[in-house]
Symmetry: C2
């Protein structure tokens, strides 16, 4: 396993996962402002990019298949990737996971184990099981191959827009934002060239913001509307190395701004984003991040695993 | 007013409406199969293209503004375009139109008049009013400037895909399919070069299919899930001239196939299409149209004015 991750890894990932993931389109909603429609990705979020790259990087996957802990987007993504590759998938979720989510994972062919009161318990059980079975573990964010896979989103958006000055992206465990920071870099390793990365978090889940203040990843409280998809309670270590760099700016948004942005994405643009998927756009609409005149901006809309009935009510 | 419409008119329209409409993206969902995401267009459908082109072609619009009859996508589009251009809009709808739709039109600043038992009555009243007031009438499909505007969708998709062999598009009054036939043409006027146009209609609203059999537009019964957006009871005369040409193939799909395709667009691709917007894709999924191996196909997903709560139930 890689213990660090570079732009070269993102470029390699792009070749490895081509044909397995969608090249999601960008939509220029006003001159110089693009939405990267990653919510249209297979399984409804960017997470399949990292899942495919992790599994395909392992060469021939073990007969015991792959294993992950997640009742959310990561679980769906690993189940999707495993099915596409003909690999067995085991997904561990806590006992509180809704029957709908368990059914969704099972429909993708995954073997679902419900265990433990909270996510951390399920993750511990998954790790123990992987050690016994030899299954390939796919982490939700703190693995180099996963970060490299997510970073292919950044490569694409730079090509599709012809380059931007700023990218707004939501942060949970940090794998996606870290990957995009690498994928959008325009210069040689060690030099900070590339667009500004505005790393957006809900005020109630400030994993990156707290880490930057503390000088290292720290445990934070998790709550609010983004918790189901941005609910990591601590930033990943690999992500911290990248997101503590000079191109990254940490921005917090209140839940009300996320709810409002999600409504706007539906009403104005007919995009069915989940709350976490609307967080980056919320930073722009709420003024938490204000571009300069003429600044070219891309906003990543990153997930759509939501009940569409709530688009007009929640 | 133009009494015929050509590819040159589509090219002129593209220049005229640039900056007012979105260049909607395409999504390649499998090699050689693109969805043209026109459902993400302003006002939730392609109709704004024609509305902008009609209004902007008139030069300085009359002080009495613009007028249209429609409680659906066309009404929303005319209201949107008028507001964007700072022009007064009057929209006539029948008395049965739901309060939600009337409120939607009013929210766009339109002056809404509810009159008559059925759509035809409202349309008659709008025509009478236009004759009195001098307002510019914007027809839902049977006007050259409207067809030319809709055709810009075809120009875009040819550029975005690098060219396709076949385009699947839904037909109501025929303005959109006619415009796309012109917009995708690749050769000189009079020569039938360009992709095959598969003109898809619900079995229960066969305006084109019946017209081709009769040798002229004829009145048809209107019913089924697509009626709110594909509910013209007779093909437009201008559209007939174009859609009776050699590149066009008429295909019918049952309502069940439309319902199923709409579900698939949501579940697999997270696109919130209305039933009419899913009709073209239904022809592909149901096998009503079967591409040859290697055939490059674009499917236009043309509208999203739907209650998202019905995406998982209807």
């Amino acid at each position: 396993m890689l213990t660090t991750v570079t732009r070269e890894d993102v470029l390699s990932a792009a070749g490895r996962i081509a044909g397995q993931v969608l090249r999601t389109p960008v939509l220029e909603i006003s001159p110089g402002l693009w939405l990267k429609l990653e919510l249209l990705q297979h399984s409804g979020s960017f997470k399949v990019r990292g899942a495919f790259n992790r599994i395909l990087s392992a060469g021939e996957p073990p007969g015991s298949g792959v294993i992950a802990a997640s009742g959310g987007n990561h679980g769906l993504a690993v189940a999707h990737a495993a099915r596409a590759l003909g690999v067995r998938a085991e997904i561990f979720v806590p006992e509180v996971t809704s029957p709908v989510k368990v059914a969704g994972l099972s429909a993708l062919g995954a073997h679902v184990t419900q265990t433990g009161a909270i996510y951390a318990d399920a993750a511990d059980a998954a790790a123990k099981r992987a050690a016994e079975s030899g299954a390939l573990s796919v982490h939700a964010y703190d693995q180099a191959e996963v970060i490299a896979g997510q970073g292919t989103t950044g490569l694409e958006l730079m090509e599709q827009t012809g380059g931007v000055d700023t990218v707004l992206v939501a942060v949970g465990g940090g794998g996606f934002a870290a990957g995009i920071t690498l994928g959008t870099a325009t210069s040689t390793p060690g030099s900070p060239g590339g667009p500004r990365i505005v790393a957006v978090e809900p005020e109630r889940i400030p994993t990156l913001n707290a880490a930057l203040k503390a000088g290292e990843p720290v445990q934070v409280q998790v709550g609010g509307v983004g918790a189901d998809a941005l609910g990591a309670s601590r930033l990943g270590g690999l992500a911290y190395e990248i997101l503590s760099g000079p191109r990254v700016e940490s921005v917090l948004v209140p839940d009300a701004a996320i709810v409002s942005a999600r409504r706007t994405l539906w009403e104005r643009h007919r995009l069915a984003a989940e709350h976490a998927g609307a967080a980056a756009y919320a930073a722009l609409l709420s003024g938490a991040y204000r571009p300069a005149p003429g600044e070219r901006v891309a906003v990543v809309v990153c997930g759509s695993n939501t009940d569409p009935a709530t688009l007009t009510t929640g």
